[in-house]
């Protein structure tokens, strides 16, 4: 790509990444959550793929790292679910303190579950793009 596209995407990458992280972390406070936030984070890396090519993007996030991220996201959801059983409640039931309504550290396990979903969706979209693009 031309130097204009490369420079713009390099400058925009951290802001789009940060916006995706914000959407994931504030999933229990504002509209959004793990699914759209994960797609936004993945889209920031896809923008790097478009500007710099697949090799440069895989230097930042390799295929193995994306696979690990996918498994970590799934494991987060499963561990939080089973934690409910271990602590004497039902599967996926909230065992953490609810906190104050509207604060970042509130809503117990809902925020943690959305972080797991965000990791999972990011890694999934990236893996699909890597699989379709790399030859």
């Amino acid at each position: 790509m031309t130097i204009i596209v490369r420079t713009t995407s390099r400058l925009l990458f951290p802001f789009i990444f940060l916006f995706g992280v914000y959407i994931v972390l504030h999933g229990h406070l504002t509209p959004g959550g793990g699914f759209p936030g994960g797609v936004i984070i993945a889209a920031s890396v896809v923008m790097l793929i478009l500007a710099y090519g697949i090799e440069r993007a895989q230097q930042r996030v390799s295929i193995l790292q994306a696979e690990m991220l996918d498994i970590i996201g799934s494991a987060t959801i499963a561990v939080i679910g089973i934690l409910g059983i271990l602590l004497g409640a039902y599967f996926l039931q909230n065992v953490f303190p609810l906190g104050e309504l509207g604060k970042l550290f509130s809503a117990g396990n809902l925020a943690l579950l959305y972080i797991g979903v965000g990791l999972k969706v990011t890694a999934s979209i990236l893996l699909i793009f890597y699989a379709m693009l790399s030859d």
């Binding site: 229990h28 959550g33 996918d70 509130s106 379709m132």
Partner: protein
């Protein structure tokens, strides 16, 4: 013959469109309001109204959609992420097998 078919298709499409528009405009209760449930002589509010009133206290989440997605309907969303995982595994299998055969 083709012209007759096209005219018939057009008439059919317009008829279905008019039917749907008239039906949708006469649905009770109107869009945006909650249907009320009558048990005996008591009129109860619907499940959507219950969620809106109780979700912030019960789950602690300010976003009611989140409290339904992971709080009340947690199993559903767990299955949803399983579907996503399976879809990714399927795509990776298909593309990596295709590359190996080349």
């Amino acid at each position: 013959m083709e012209k007759v078919q096209r005219a018939l298709a057009l008439v059919l499409v317009i008829a279905v469109g008019v039917f749907l528009t008239l039906t949708a405009s006469s649905i009770e209760p109107p869009f945006g309001s909650f249907p009320l449930r009558q048990v005996g002589t008591e009129i109860e509010t619907s499940v959507g109204q219950q969620y809106l009133e109780n979700a912030p206290q019960q789950t602690g989440a300010a976003n009611v959609v989140t409290s339904i997605v992971w709080g009340y309907r947690g199993y559903d969303t767990l299955g949803e992420s399983t579907v996503l995982f399976t879809a990714v595994v399927g795509v990776l299998m298909a593309f990596r097998a295709m590359r190996r055969n080349e």
